[in-house]
């Protein structure tokens, strides 16, 4: 795999130029700012006007002008912020569409597919079919817009490392795709449009997501980023039984979430993160874990909800902080295979746990040579 080259200069292009010396201001304001050792725009807007006039020794008129100018400078590079758009324009622009999963029944369960902006999480125990769903998305994203695709390639960032197997499986699925969409995919090299990156540890993950990915995205026509899995490296690097490292982890997670959302909006693509599950024990154990029910019913019912929908004793890893960061969550689960003699061990369910655009729905699905398919009609509950 060829690693994308990146240089300081290129990165600087993607970072916002937020230093005060790059902003045109009146000379006396510039002098006052330099005298007060203000360097970045944050230094200015983190103070209120009265404070500023004391620190900078400027008249209130100058301060007003300065604050307004800085505020406009901050929001200028992002057309999404200001001027305010309206919901009708958003609706008609077709910017927020759905990426199909390639199966009508599953699309229906998921409220149309994967949202074309923001972070969608696919969570489930091992062998529930998370990777299969992701690989299928890598292929459907290359479809034309009218078929539910986004007309672009995909980046597959893998932490598990077994790229050869992934490629093998992708090739299998490619044949089915080619057959199904014969006319539309004639001259598209499906495999060539999927880029694989392996990140074996948290440091590499940081480097790839914060530095290399933006460059890769700006160079090639990519419309989907998949991270499989977001939890693996975090779970290794941080010990979850220690409060202070947990705090650090949650900050790091938030930062990562913000970065991913920025990438999503900037390059106009959906981000799909695969997450693992952790075990949670029986109801009584939860009660013990979170304390007396009556004191902590918010906590209790939150976990209970997760617990119920997860069908069994699994909750998504990385905790509440990560749940707050993602936009929608899809949960996959499978009948317990470890029970000997369990005949029905291929029963798999897919649940849309939360999404800003659709209610909670679930249904059964199966995986075959061609990919994943829905089995029954969706069942709805609130």
């Amino acid at each position: 795999m060829r690693k994308p080259v990146y240089t300081e200069k290129r990165i600087a292009k993607y970072m916002k130029n937020m230093e005060l010396k790059n902003i045109e201001l009146r000379p006396r304001i510039v002098d006052a700012l330099r005298y007060a050792n203000f360097e970045t725009v944050s230094d200015v807007i983190y103070h209120n006007e009265t404070e500023l006039s004391k620190i900078l020794n400027l008249s209130s008129k100058d301060i007003k002008e300065l604050v307004k100018c800085i505020a406009q400078e901050i929001i200028k590079p992002c057309p999404l912020i200001y001027p305010l758009t309206n919901a009708l324009k958003m609706l008609n622009s077709g910017e927020q569409c759905m990426l199909t999963t390639g199966d009508d029944i599953i699309d229906k369960i998921l409220g149309g597919g994967i949202m074309s902006r923001g972070i969608t999480e696919i969570v489930g125990e091992s062998a529930a079919g998370k990777t299969q769903l992701c690989l299928q998305l890598c292929l459907t994203v290359q479809l034309k817009k009218e078929l539910g695709g986004l007309e672009g390639g995909a980046v597959y960032i893998s932490t598990e490392g077994n790229i050869q197997m992934l490629i093998k499986r992708t090739r299998q699925m490619t044949h089915a795709m080619k057959q199904r969409y014969d006319d539309h995919l004639k001259d598209v090299d499906l495999l060539d449009n999927i880029k694989y990156i392996t990140v074996p540890d948290l440091d590499t993950q940081y480097q790839v997501l914060h530095l290399q990915l933006p460059i890769l995205l700006s160079r090639s026509k990519i419309r989907l980023v998949i991270i499989d899995s977001i939890a693996a490296n975090f779970r290794v690097a941080y010990n979850s039984s220690n409060g202070s490292t947990l705090l650090q982890r949650s900050k790091e997670l938030c930062r990562l979430g913000t970065k991913l959302k920025e990438i999503s909006d900037h390059f106009q693509l959906p981000i799909v993160c695969v997450n693992q599950v952790s075990d949670l024990f029986s109801k009584n154990d939860i009660r013990e874990y979170i304390g007396n029910k009556d004191d902590n019913f918010w906590e209790y019912d939150y976990y209970q909800k997760q617990f119920l929908a997860g069908k069994g004793s699994k909750i998504p890893a990385l905790g509440l902080v990560w749940s707050n960061t993602i936009n929608s969550r899809i949960m996959l689960s499978r009948a317990d295979r470890t029970l000997v003699g369990n005949e029905d061990n291929n029963q798999r369910t897919i649940t849309l746990m939360m999404a800003p655009y659709a209610p909670r729905r679930w249904g059964e699905f199966y995986i075959d040579f061609e990919g994943i398919h829905g089995k029954t009609n969706e069942q709805l509950y609130y």
């Binding site: 409060g243 913000t258 918010w298």
Partner: protein
């Protein structure tokens, strides 16, 4: 107010010293002077003197009596949530205008849905006893989905059409409703603060804006800061700005907040100890909003609990979210719960 020191005014240092040298200590001393007198006395230009006096005048706070305030408040039309029980809890008719109301809840509780519902409901015309305003939605999480807002808008319009007695013309037009929800998407807290600073101008241009939604206030403030004192100061500044908007433009500010895990422990952090869900952003933020409502699940029913309000009783109500938006809780969704439990034998 009149006892405010001259040195605390927003003035040039040279002017400040001149004033103090001439013996002007408090704002009260300046109130009786005219610009020309002042300029002669301390040796500054007429313009500058005028500037000083204007600043004092602007700072003068007019007091109103309680009955006047009551009358003013009656004129402001609250925004319905479309859930009658929740409206009742919030004082009879919905989210109050001129105040900050905060909703806290774990992910998936329907915070964004409630925000979109309010954005539509704020546009209910006056003859149907609505505020007939416009709405601003500041999206920090990327959860504002135009299609979903359209769904809610259509459902709300249909409901109003059914209820309206006079069938002369439709009370609300879908395109107009959608075009009056102004949306902004911010990616970090610098952008949020900057946006609030320029929003003043926007509000002056759009006087019909009666609702400002921030979804969610917590998201960016929870990660960028190692310096908690700075965060508190920024949040307080933000709350001050929002309060100013709420009062001077007579609009309802609705904030959404996340929940966080708090370890109730003695000494060290240890997960074995008790943990509870609390609204994010800490204790000092709790003082900033007038009303605070916590959303949570209980026995498979969505609940909303009013936990802070200066005038209303603490109550808990049920609500539900369906394809049409936020609605009153109906018992038949209990069935789905039973079905679920039977299925998995819980």
């Amino acid at each position: 107010m009149s006892a405010r020191l001259v040195s605390s005014l927003n003035l040039r240092p040279s002017t400040r010293t001149k004033l103090q040298k001439a013996g002007f200590q408090t704002v009260k001393d300046l109130q009786e002077t005219t610009p020309i007198e002042l300029s002669k006395e301390i040796g500054i230009s007429n313009n500058e003197a005028l500037n000083i006096l204007q600043q004092i005048k602007k700072n003068k706070v007019t007091s109103i009596s309680a009955s006047e305030a009551l009358q003013q408040e009656r004129k402001l039309c609250p925004i319905s949530t479309s859930c009658e029980a929740m409206d009742q809890m919030l004082g009879g008719r919905g989210v109050p205008v001129g105040k900050i109301t905060e909703f806290c809840g774990a992910p998936g509780m329907g915070k964004t849905q409630l925000g979109m519902q309010l954005c539509v409901n704020v546009q209910i015309p006056q003859n149907l006893s609505g505020p007939e305003g416009e709405a601003i939605f500041i999206d920090t999480e990327g959860s504002f989905i135009a299609q979903r807002a359209a769904e809610i808008a259509r459902a709300t319009i249909n409901k109003l059409n059914e209820n309206s007695v006079t069938e002369c013309d439709p009370p609300m037009n879908f395109d107009i409703v959608m075009s009056k929800i102004y949306v902004s998407k911010v990616h970090n807290c610098d952008e949020l603060i900057a946006l609030i600073k320029v929003l003043d101008e926007f509000l002056q241009e759009h006087p019909r804006v009666k609702l400002l939604v921030i979804d969610s206030i917590a998201f960016h403030f929870r990660q960028q800061f190692d310096d908690m004192a700075l965060r508190t100061r920024l949040l307080n500044g933000l709350a001050q700005d929002l309060n100013k908007f709420a009062q001077s433009y007579e609009l309802a500010v609705v904030l959404f907040n996340q929940m966080t895990t708090k370890f109730i422990i003695s000494g060290k952090y240890n997960l074995k100890d008790q943990a509870a869900l609390v609204p994010a952003l800490g204790e000092s933020w709790g003082h900033q909003c007038t009303n605070r409502i916590v959303l949570y699940w209980r026995n498979e029913i969505r609940c909303a609990q009013l936990v802070k309000s200066p005038s209303l009783q603490e109550t808990t109500v049920h609500y539900q979210i369906n394809s049409t938006g936020v609605r009153d809780y109906q018992a038949d969704s209990l069935n789905s719960k039973r079905r679920w439990e039977e299925l998995y034998d819980i």
